[in-house]
């Protein structure tokens, strides 16, 4: 079928419907095909709009039930591109199934490479840290700042991600590979690492009242504790070393929860031995 058919593009309602569905894309995350059902459910308004024969609809559903996994929020850009390709396929059938799948799979990795540092590495930890620091004094501003801040970022990402993806189609592949997004990722990484570094120092509390040396001076006992020695060297050194130890363990695929339990063991044993104090 090479003749061109008139296919109605997505209406505003379809786009809103797709957006709403995309916010639930991880609902049925499973270990076999991960986000697959969520992708199919998100694409349903587009499939219904572009295809009217039952076998075409079934084929479209089937190709969107294949393995998919990326950073959820910017994934909307992939949905936009995919919708644009589905529309072209419905129009003249020149795009084959494999092309749609390949673009989807091809964008997944690079997008996660951009999305993970920006959203999970920078935006969320920074807003959460800011919110938590306000919440510690019992201020409702803390949770509100975090909740609204992160959700505005999320909604803008999803809404404009889809719109740009849909209007640009496969041209967006240039964008993902290009300098602009790479710049943004690098900026997010610099900011994220900078803040992580400052948090290691600011938001850990390790007290080591273990007495190393004790002597009498003018009738008073003077204690030199482990803490005093370490603070002279570099305050926060222990937290820094612990961070590197965790990074090393995580790189060796040790589950985070085991590291956390290990930390508990260190805390309890250290407190029992008198090395750590409250």
């Amino acid at each position: 079928m090479s003749e061109t058919k008139k296919v109605q593009p997505l209406t505003k309602r379809d786009i809103i419907n797709t957006y709403f569905r995309s916010t639930f894309m991880l609902g049925s995350f499973n270990f076999e095909r991960m986000q697959a059902i969520g992708v199919a459910v998100t694409m349903i308004p587009a499939i219904k709009r572009f295809y009217h024969r039952k076998e075409d609809q079934a084929a479209a559903l089937k190709r969107h039930l294949e393995f998919f996994n990326t950073t959820p929020w910017p994934a909307s850009a992939i949905f936009g591109v995919t919708a644009a390709m589905e529309q072209k396929k419905a129009e003249n059938g020149e795009i084959d199934e494999a092309a749609i799948t390949n673009v989807k799979i091809g964008l997944m990795g690079p997008l996660a490479g951009i999305g993970d540092p920006i959203y999970w590495g920078t935006a969320r930890p920074i807003l959460a840290a800011l919110g938590a620091s306000l919440a510690l004094s019992g201020s409702i501003l803390g949770p509100l700042l975090f909740f609204f801040g992160i959700n505005i970022i999320r909604m803008l990402t999803r809404w404009y991600g889809f719109k740009v993806g849909y209007s640009q189609g496969t041209d967006i592949v240039q964008d993902v590979a290009g300098n602009r997004l790479k710049k943004l990722t690098q900026m997010a990484s610099v900011l994220g690492l900078f803040v992580m570094g400052s948090l290691v120092s600011k938001w850990t509390s390790i007290k080591m009242p273990f007495v190393l040396v004790s002597y009498e001076q003018a009738g008073k006992t003077v204690n030199t504790t482990l803490q005093m020695i370490l603070d002279q060297l570099l305050p926060g050194l222990v937290a820094l070393l612990m961070t590197f130890a965790c990074m090393w363990l995580l790189k060796r695929k040790v589950n985070a929860i085991w590291i956390i339990f290990g930390m508990f063991a260190i805390g309890i044993l250290g407190y029992w031995a008198g090395i750590f104090g409250l």
Partner: protein
């Protein structure tokens, strides 16, 4: 806790459980989940403070790729109930939150395995172009994730007001509870390490050390100040980076298109 509060607690837990798999609206983060439980139980203040403390610990917990983070949803709901209804200290709440996060992780792994069954059902419906069927498979998986948190939370809420909980907690020797509080001071580094590893940017590590050193020696600077400094460093770094200036770049330098391995600068 009256019947109305009990129902609301379960509803909040259901929403948090669903949010923990969606990772969308962030209801599963301690800062939001503990605040909501506090609101429902009539002690907003305690909920916010506990949420803030737990958020600090869970700061870097995230689902990246197929790897799963400790579960902050179950940890937040149950520890908030124990602290508010069971009249325990915030420190106690944090100490029990961590084993709960581990339990929640095991439960979500369980549900994500069961959902493979829904995946195959969806294939079946797709073959007949049955849109409704595919949608229900999706909703089914989501509901299971909600129940995964709602059921244990409901069970704890049912007994939290009784002396049973405080008896159990009192039975823990003080060396354990104090030790747990000690580790609460540094357990957050696990999350920081997760974030740093995820960035995959060894070449940018100097910025980590700059942040560390500034925060250590500039007393009085707060997070907003550090954030501004970090943002400035980010802008200046990108402006000066030759990678982003085509004119300066050697013509033979191949662009590192779309590679997601270690870093693009090294």
């Amino acid at each position: 806790m009256n019947a109305m509060q009990f129902i609301l607690v379960i509803l909040v837990a259901l929403v948090c459980g669903m949010a923990s798999v969606l990772d969308e609206r962030q209801f599963h983060r301690p800062l939001v989940a503990c605040t909501l439980i506090g609101l429902v139980l009539g002690d907003l203040h305690t909920g916010i403070i506990l949420g803030g403390q737990l958020e600090l610990i869970a700061l870097g917990w995230m689902n990246v790729g197929a790897a799963m983070a400790p579960d902050s949803a179950l940890a937040s709901t149950i520890s908030a109930i124990i602290v508010i209804v069971g009249h325990q200290s915030i420190g106690e709440g944090i100490a029990i939150a961590i084993p709960l996060a581990a339990a929640g992780q095991v439960l979500t792994i369980f549900v994500r395995t069961i959902t493979v069954f829904f995946q195959h059902q969806a294939d079946h419906f797709a073959a007949n172009a049955n849109f409704r069927g595919v949608e229900w498979c999706h909703i089914g998986g989501l509901l299971l994730q909600g129940l995964r948190v709602a059921i244990p939370t409901g069970a704890v809420a049912a007994i939290a007001g009784t002396s049973l909980v405080s008896q159990w907690l009192d039975a823990i020797p003080p060396v354990i509870t104090h030790g747990l509080q000690v580790s609460g001071g540094f357990i957050v580094v696990v999350g920081y390490a997760m974030v740093i590893n995820m960035m995959k940017a060894r070449a940018l590590m100097p910025f980590f050390f700059i942040g560390f050193t500034l925060a250590t020696f500039m007393s009085g600077i707060n997070l907003v100040g550090l954030g501004i400094l970090g943002a400035c460093a980010a802008v200046v770094y990108v402006q000066l980076n030759p990678d982003f200036h085509d004119a300066i770049k050697a013509p033979t330098a191949a662009t590192n298109v779309g590679s997601d391995d270690d870093d693009v600068l090294g």
